[in-house]
Subunit: 119 residues, 2 copies
């Protein structure tokens, strides 16, 4: 990931509505959610406001959309999220393998830790 992409990504995440959308879609997984469902989950965001932020997030590459009938379904792009994290922490360990341990530990999810070494 290049700096410019990272800047756009972090800017996209630095707004309350957008951060909530991303976290919602991270939880929703690849199936994603329709724009209307996102709006409901967020509780009373006007459609234009929601659309503005969804467009913003899509331009940042953090989410993607697909049409299903009259619904537009949004889902998180996990590769971009991974890229942001990688860009931020790149070179953190050069000569100091212990330093970024808490960062790795932050991914306290159910992932098999062996996955960390692949790809």
């Amino acid at each position: 990931m290049e700096e410019q992409h990272a800047l756009v990504g972090f800017a996209a995440l630095s707004q309350e509505t957008r951060l909530r959308i991303v976290r919602l879609l991270v939880k929703a997984g690849p199936e994603g959610m329709a724009a209307g469902a996102i709006g409901e989950a967020l509780g009373g965001a006007s459609t234009s406001r929601l659309s503005f932020h969804l467009t913003h997030l899509e331009h940042a590459g953090l989410i993607r959309s697909r049409r299903e009938g009259r619904f537009i379904i949004y889902s998180a792009v996990f590769a971009t999220l991974a890229g942001l994290i990688a860009f931020l922490m790149r070179d953190c360990c050069d000569g100091h393998p212990d330093i970024c341990a808490p960062v790795a530990a932050a991914l306290d999810c159910a992932c098999d830790p062996t996955l960390t070494r692949e790809a």
Copy 2:
């Protein structure tokens, strides 16, 4: 980490000068760098501008400062960086352990993968 802290953190990272400072300090490790050295590494940022962004980052908890003689040394706060990542990806794996694998893989540093399971 709470939402408000995460928002402040991502906002701090969404500005070119600040993102460069953080990456510089991530590489510098716990020893950190003096404000002047940071300014030189960044190449021609005025002192007031640099100070503004350093203060901003410190308020966001992403860096900390200590005085050494007439120098002020800044260093990255890895726990906050870890918190940001954790906040973003929390619950990503519920029922889908394979989804966040690329995110974990993004931490392609020299860390011992077993560290991922600790703390």
